[in-house]
Homo-oligomer: 329 residues x 4
Amino acid sequence: MNSFGRNFRITSFGESHGTGIGVVIDGCPPGLELDEQDIQPFLDRRRPGTSPLTSPRQEQDRVEILSGIFEGRTTGAPVALLVRNQDQLPKDYEELREKFRPGHADFTYLEKYGVRDHRGGGRSSGRETIGRVAAGAVAVKYLSAYGISVTGKILAVHGKTDTDQIQREILLAKGADDSVGGIVEITARGCPAGLGDPVFGKMDALIAGAMMGIGAVKGVEIGDGFAVAGMFGSDNNDQMTKDGFVSNHAGGILGGISSGQDIIVRIAVKPTPSIAKAQQTRDIYGNIVEISVKGRHDPCIVPRIVPVAEAMLALVLVDCMLEQTKYHT
Amino acid sequence: MNSFGRNFRITSFGESHGTGIGVVIDGCPPGLELDEQDIQPFLDRRRPGTSPLTSPRQEQDRVEILSGIFEGRTTGAPVALLVRNQDQLPKDYEELREKFRPGHADFTYLEKYGVRDHRGGGRSSGRETIGRVAAGAVAVKYLSAYGISVTGKILAVHGKTDTDQIQREILLAKGADDSVGGIVEITARGCPAGLGDPVFGKMDALIAGAMMGIGAVKGVEIGDGFAVAGMFGSDNNDQMTKDGFVSNHAGGILGGISSGQDIIVRIAVKPTPSIAKAQQTRDIYGNIVEISVKGRHDPCIVPRIVPVAEAMLALVLVDCMLEQTKYHT
Amino acid sequence: MNSFGRNFRITSFGESHGTGIGVVIDGCPPGLELDEQDIQPFLDRRRPGTSPLTSPRQEQDRVEILSGIFEGRTTGAPVALLVRNQDQLPKDYEELREKFRPGHADFTYLEKYGVRDHRGGGRSSGRETIGRVAAGAVAVKYLSAYGISVTGKILAVHGKTDTDQIQREILLAKGADDSVGGIVEITARGCPAGLGDPVFGKMDALIAGAMMGIGAVKGVEIGDGFAVAGMFGSDNNDQMTKDGFVSNHAGGILGGISSGQDIIVRIAVKPTPSIAKAQQTRDIYGNIVEISVKGRHDPCIVPRIVPVAEAMLALVLVDCMLEQTKYHT
Amino acid sequence: MNSFGRNFRITSFGESHGTGIGVVIDGCPPGLELDEQDIQPFLDRRRPGTSPLTSPRQEQDRVEILSGIFEGRTTGAPVALLVRNQDQLPKDYEELREKFRPGHADFTYLEKYGVRDHRGGGRSSGRETIGRVAAGAVAVKYLSAYGISVTGKILAVHGKTDTDQIQREILLAKGADDSVGGIVEITARGCPAGLGDPVFGKMDALIAGAMMGIGAVKGVEIGDGFAVAGMFGSDNNDQMTKDGFVSNHAGGILGGISSGQDIIVRIAVKPTPSIAKAQQTRDIYGNIVEISVKGRHDPCIVPRIVPVAEAMLALVLVDCMLEQTKYHT
């Protein structure tokens, strides 16, 4: 399933070492001013090779708008975006043709499809998120016209919360041919009350699905999240005043519908599974083998996941906004 | 959005104080033996009034199969299930016509729809989960033919993990007109490798959406979950042997696709928002008022959420199994 | 697939000789006044046993609203409707357990599902249309608030267009243990311009799918329909004036989007396949056998299809109206 | 709505005078051998400029596969196909910025979206069918592995059925600055029994929606189609023998499910609305104006619709085949 959303519906395609990565947005409202410069900065933020903390893979990741724009504005037709791949070193991946990388989708893709594009993870590569970020940039543009912003930040990496300590943890892991995980928090501000659909289309359900669908994410929480398990109802309930709420334990969503407060989401990001440190695994013939994953990998994917998580939250919000227009008749 | 699933697709209807609660299952494969006795025990497990720890509301919650069965087996036609409501005391709810209960969907439903069925929460009531549990029972029956089981258990309530302590915490909260939250873990055993869809249909994304869509759930994690944020890649990766994996940090899902290991999910459940303890809130006219939520409420919803969470996981698994048949051509 | 529509989404269930027939409407906007009296007249129109021209099967077909209404108005929650079956004579159908009726779905259902509810056609019975008509009545109620009407009429039966001749043709066929087909025209008036979605969601595509999905319909045309095949462009094009169009060859839809003119649809309805006249067929063991379909069947289904076709057109229109609200932001 | 299909799901994008036209296929089974040469011949068949009967617009319409192929086979990942536009003469269209062409979607698009890409019809251009034909070619390739073929042919143009007469009619219309319509028949051979879904997913309903969604199609019929309106049941029913059916009035579909016989579909195609002959219309300011549609248009679109209709039927068949695998568990 390579589509996401009901109203602002995106369809993603492309592999790490194929021609490129793209996304089609179906349902983008007409009249939105849009050009490549609205999208490129978001792709630049997720791009590797920009600091010693990330993969040295050099990709320009230039976006091309293929359709849906006329005289600088969207027309209501699908907006297709394409980023061509450039810096491919498939020889780095020849070993992976036969070995399953621990923590990766190599084994499960082969179980599912009976065939596998081993080059850089193929479709399971982190480059797949280019489509999300490009579409998310269009969503952000739409939201900004309604005064809604979405911003993510790193809360912790390997248990550390201070920026300098985080940087040290990442470099230490890199030096040890290892990797580390962390936590990202994404906040949407300015979202009106009343968005989201009861029962199976709850906004928090959509957000949870959106976030857990990002590779490497293993946990999602809204508002107080797992901390609610230790609370009294009288502490967890957000009491009300004339003007709104006195607290925001709920994280901006009640009964699956936005309350008008900030929407607060946290995600747990696992350590990059690709590490140079030797690990034991299987090959496709069933032999036990050792693997040391070469190539240019991030010792910590947390910083680069921030724009991806922002994009997914923005996509959910736009989708809910368009859904809600049905009740304005 | 009152439907869930792509292949084993359920559509839920009904309110707490209306005629009843029902669910239609579209896509149930033909030939499955099914009668009310396959479903009733699951409804009995979620039923209130069975212990001092739960709401004293007395509901028999008898399920009636309205369609889809012929000579004791499913035919491929939709299976409709109906549970009529019985024990309704709408006068308990008269105060709620004008006051927003803290921690409830009262305010947000009114913002969304401009109208609200205040009787017992209407569609946002916990009784809505009857449809999930009834449909989940059919899913469980289907899974059992493939040797797949789904079981949930309480991990903690209000920070306590021991059964006696948990019971005491709940009764203490009840005595204080308050409520407590907790954590539930659900495990699927026997699930084959290869289920789940890459990118936006990842099995963990579907599970996260399914779980977060249960009222009162504020967090979801798979496998090591939030703990991955503090781990090294070399510890988090599940290395492989000839016969499978040496550990299960991933919780049975890699790249969104099942690995054949146990699927392990944990959810955080907030304290029941309906408490008798006085709280400050707003009424629909904008006045600040005090509210003490009367009626028969659970001081802790955690035990009754267990069968609901099992149902949602079973529904996701059946849906993924039917999806996967496309690749068997 | 027992669901229809994207925004005003109905899910149908039930068999001819099961407990009953029902439908769930998901996406009905809140605030619509609705009770059983809005729906019953439509069911009465499609009900058999009302004239010598139709089946003598006696069914009251009383509709019960199971959910979604509060104080006389819709709330935005799913509206579930149920009609219980009454007049079942399953012994009439014992012969059909083993024989495939010509022109029926008996053979194809068995090929598809490997199992078949032979009693009155089970799910493939004309009684399935009760769900469509009940949901369509709610759609009609919604449309009427916007000044939109949907009306169907018989254009021809067995080649005759005059009412007396039509009646005679039907009685002649009945007397000969045979049946006849005909043509129905459905017109929507008052529909605003701009409804329908380009490419695959064209309003005429939705209408064609909706109509051809009614059992017994073998052809659908919009506006001039098949007659366009013999026309010049200069005759077929609807030229425009200041106030609109000078003709309506297009049948109210241009490029899949409504033009504001009357929407005109015609459908071809085949002769009822259930006839008492002896026919040759196969049984489930592969033997050639003779069959004379007993039971109480309509010698001409055309009159009873009129409210069904109206319902389907009304459902498409409401769905497109709700879809269009997304462009009003 | 720019997506079509549930299992073999295509998403189309692109405008007549934009960068290009493309399509993404989501759900193409893995292991299918596929390269550009499987697709190009189908695009060549729909291409203009190949005879005096069609538009002289010169487009090479070279297809590029952007994703989803690894070592010559599909992987289960989305297959994205792109055809770049070349022969654009936007000045031809400057007049259309302000005038609504009769018989076109100009007026209705503007009513829907409030904005319009007037260049060659933008998204409502016949060039949109490139996406359908390209995706259809992949569907045809898949079907051929199962011994299923889909072939279309012209039955009539402007009332003539003989090839020479048809050619003369088209050239006559062209000489008169006018255009003519016709009828196309599409037949699928080798389709197994049991495909299609009851009620709203009937195979004939899907086919009708697919065909009526092609621009210029105003009628669809299956098997005997509109002729059934004049028949007796005893003539229309297809009686059975040990080996199958003795006739095929049904057109290969009973109760919405394939019977194993040939699937026979006919469509009515309207005369090309773009004609040089002067017509009366409105401009966007409400003035009555005369229009003579310049540019390079087909005097008869019937020949070029044949491969488009084949593509749509092939897409429906593959979709139903993949749906049916769910019942093979």
